[in-house]
Symmetry: C2
Subunit: 394 residues, 2 copies
C-alpha cells in the first residue's frame, strides 16, 4: 500500500513546488527558504535536516546537514545556512532581492539568522503562500487522506468491543489509541505553531466535556494532568452519559478528523436531539459547501440552525464556547480554510475540511459528529464514511 512509506511521487512534489513558485512570482518574491518540518515534508516529500530553497523559476535546492532521500531538485550538503549564498553564486544562480521566510512558525532566532544570510536583500513573510498552497489538495493527496480515513474507520468500528463496564475515559482512550496504531496510524498529532498540543486526540465523557481548556480546540476537558490540560481526565464512564471520541487518523502523516459519539445506557432526549442536530448541520454544510461558497456563510448557517432549534447555549461548548465549526486539515490538523464568522475565505475545489458541529449538554457530556470532507463543485465529499448516529457501547 503506497501510504505505508508515504513518499509523494516526484510529479506531485514538482507540482507543489511549481505552484509555490507561481504564487511567489505573483507576490514579487524571488525565493522562499522553507525551514519548518511540515512545510519541508510538503516540498521534499519527507522530513529533511536543513532547508528547501525555492527559486522563482521553480527550481528547488535542498541544503541539508545530512543526506536525504529526495525525488526532485538538487541536494547540497552544508554545515550551516550561511553557506547558501556562496553555493548559489558558485552555481551561477542569482541571489534574491526579496525572499520569504516562515514568519508565523519558525523561531525568531532562526528567521533573523536566515534573514542575515542575504544582507542586501529584503525579507517578507512566506507563511501565507505556503499555507494557501497546502490548503488545496491534489488528487494524490486526497487519496492519501481517503486511505487514512479508511484506517481510522476500521479502528473506530472496534470501539464497542473495546468497552468494558467500569472503565474510565482514559482506559477506553488507551484501547482506541492502540487500535488506531494497529490499523496503521503513525500516532503523531501534527499541528501548526507551538500553542496547540495533543497526544493522539480526545475522548470526553460526562461533565469533563464542560471543563474549559487552555487550548483552542473545539472541545475542552481537564486532561490527565496540569501539564496537558485537555481531554480525558480519568472520569468513570457512567450510564446515561455520552462518550465523544475524537482521535486522530494520520496514516502516512495525512491527518483525518472523525468524531463519533457513543453512549452507555440511554441518553436524555435533549442529548439525542442535539446529536441529531449535529448530523443535520454537518449534512447541510456538506450540501452548501461547494467551491465558491464563503466559509463564513457556512458558519453563519450552522449558527442559524442551532438558534432555531434553541441549542445555542450548548453549541461548541457550554461553559466555554469555541467560535468555529470547521477547519482545514491535511499534513497538520489546523490548516486553511477555517469556518468561522469572520472568515474571509472562499471554498476551492480540493480544500479538505473537518466539520464538527458539537454540543455539550450539562450532566450528559459532548454529543455530535465530525467528518473530514473534500470540497467539490457540487458540495462536500465525505472521506470519513462511518455510521453517524449515536452508537451504543453496552
Amino acid at each position: 500500500m503506497t501510504i505505508e512509506r508515504g513518499y509523494a511521487p516526484a510529479v506531485e512534489l514538482r507540482d507543489r513546488v511549481g505552484r509555490t513558485a507561481a504564487a511567489m512570482r505573483r507576490k514579487g518574491l524571488d525565493a522562499i527558504i522553507v525551514s519548518t518540518n511540515a512545510n519541508l515534508l510538503y516540498v521534499a516529500g519527507t522530513i529533511i535536516n536543513g532547508y528547501a530553497y525555492i527559486a522563482r523559476d521553480g527550481e528547488v535546492t535542498f541544503f541539508v546537514r545530512r543526506p536525504a532521500p529526495l525525488l526532485i531538485g538538487e541536494m547540497a550538503l552544508i554545515r550551516k545556512p550561511e553557506e547558501i549564498p556562496q553555493w548559489l553564486q558558485s552555481h551561477g544562480k542569482p541571489l534574491p532581492s526579496t525572499f520569504g521566510l516562515e514568519y508565523d512558525i519558525e523561531s525568531y532566532s532562526t528567521v533573523v539568522r536566515l534573514a542575515n544570510i542575504f544582507p542586501q536583500s529584503s525579507h517578507v513573510s512566506a507563511s501565507d503562500i505556503l499555507a494557501a498552497e497546502r490548503a488545496v489538495k491534489s488528487r494524490w493527496e486526497i487519496e492519501q487522506l481517503r486511505a487514512s480515513a479508511a484506517i481510522q474507520a476500521c479502528a473506530y468500528s472496534k470501539i464497542p468491543k473495546l468497552y468494558r463496564p467500569g472503565m474510565t475515559d482514559v482506559e477506553l482512550q488507551i484501547e482506541v489509541e492502540r487500535e488506531l496504531r494497529r490499523a496503521g496510524t503513525i500516532g503523531l498529532f501534527r499541528m501548526r505553531g507551538g500553542q496547540l498540543e495533543m497526544y493522539m486526540g480526545s475522548l470526553l465523557t460526562g461533565d469533563n466535556a464542560d471543563e474549559p481548556s487552555a487550548y483552542d480546540f473545539a472541545m475542552g476537558g481537564a486532561g490527565q494532568s496540569a501539564a496537558l490540560p485537555v481531554g480525558a481526565d480519568g472520569s468513570a464512564i457512567k450510564s446515561g452519559q455520552a462518550v465523544m471520541i475524537d482521535l486522530g487518523g494520520n496514516a502516512g502523516g495525512w491527518m483525518t478528523d472523525m468524531t463519533r459519539t457513543y453512549s452507555v445506557g440511554a441518553l436524555p432526549q435533549q442529548a439525542i436531539d442535539a446529536h441529531n442536530l449535529s448530523i443535520e448541520i454537518a449534512h447541510a454544510i456538506a450540501r452548501r459547501g461547494h467551491a465558491g461558497a464563503a466559509a463564513a456563510e457556512l458558519y453563519d448557517m450552522a449558527i442559524a440552525m442551532v438558534e432555531k432549534a434553541g441549542f445555542a447555549p450548548y453549541f461548541m461548548g457550554h461553559r466555554q464556547q469555541a467560535s468555529f465549526v470547521g477547519h482545514g486539515i491535511g499534513l497538520e490538523v489546523n490548516e486553511l480554510p477555517v469556518l468561522h464568522h469572520r472568515s474571509k475565505e472562499i471554498l476551492q475545489v480540493g480544500n479538505v475540511i473537518a466539520v464538527e458541529p458539537k454540543f455539550v449538554i450539562p450532566g450528559v457530556g459532548a454529543v455530535g459528529i465530525e467528518n473530514t470532507y473534500v470540497v467539490t463543485d457540487r458540495g462536500l465529499d465525505n472521506l470519513t464514511v462511518f455510521p453517524e448516529d449515536l452508537i451504543q457501547l453496552d
Copy 2:
C-alpha cells in the same frame, strides 16, 4: 498521588519565578514575557492561554485570554497582548526599559508583535535565562521525575510478556505504548523547538537501527512513514537481533528517558560486549558526574573508553553517528546540560541528565542502556532503576 494532576505547589512556583527574576536582574532585564507552552507550564504550573509577565521585583502577572487555575501571581483577562502596557500603567507598575522574549522558541511573528507593545523599550533574548533556570531541578521536581521513572519501570517490566514470536517492531512498540499509558504516562513527547518530532519514543531492531534519520536524536531508524522518518519501520523481530526500547516516561508531564535492550535468541559476542561497555560507560559517567564536573569531560571520558575497547565505529550509531552521549531532561526531553565535546557547561546539583552510551552493531541492531540521573555532590543518582543487562524476550 500528587503526580496525577501534576500542579506544582505555590511555594515551588514562587521559587521558580523568584529565581528567574534574580537572573533577570543580574542580566539587566526589567521584565520577561513568557509565551511558549513549556515555559508557561514552568512558571504558571499549567498551560495557560496567554502570557506570563515576570517583573524584575519577582512579581508575576498572567495575561490570559481565558481564565486559568493559578496558584500564584495576579491574573488579568485580555483579548490581545497590546493591552498589557495599559494594564501595567493603570496598576501603577513601571513599563520595562529592557525586556526579554523567547527568541529561540517563539515564532518570529509573535516575538515581533510582543516587541512592538513596548515601542520605547529594547528587547533581548530570554531563552537562555529560562533554560538555565529549568536545568536545575528542585527537590519537588526530582520527586516528580522519580515517580515518572517508577511508572516507566513498571511498564518496562511487562515487556517480555508483551512479546510474541513473529511480531514486528511496530507491533511490539504499540503494546509498550499501551503499557506506558496504562501505567500512567500522558504520552505527549514534549521537545524544545520545532525541529524534533516523535510519537512516544523509539523501538529499533536489526539493521533498521543503522538507518540514518533526519532528526537529531541519538539513534535513527527509517520510521513507519516518510512523514516521520525515525524509529521502528515494520521490521520483523528476528532471532539473533537486538531490540532497543527507548519509549518516554512522562507522568504528569515530567519526562524520563530509559532505554533497555532486549533480545530474541542469543546475540553475537560483539553485541554483548558493546552492551556491557555501555553499562560501564554509564556507570563511569555516574561516578564522575558530580557537581562541578565539566559536561565535555564526561563526553571525552566516554569516547576514551569506547576507543580503548575498539568500538568507536559503532558508538552512537554506525552509518551516522550522534555527537553527544547525554542531555538534560525535565518538562522537555532536550534540556540543558548536553554532554558533548564542545559543551561549556559545568554540572550543578539538581541537573537531571539522560545518559545514553549506545552502539549500533551491523546485522544485529542497537545495544546499550540509557538512564536518567540527578546530579549530586557525590555523583549521579539514578532515577530509572531497572535491570540493565540484556533482557531475553523469548
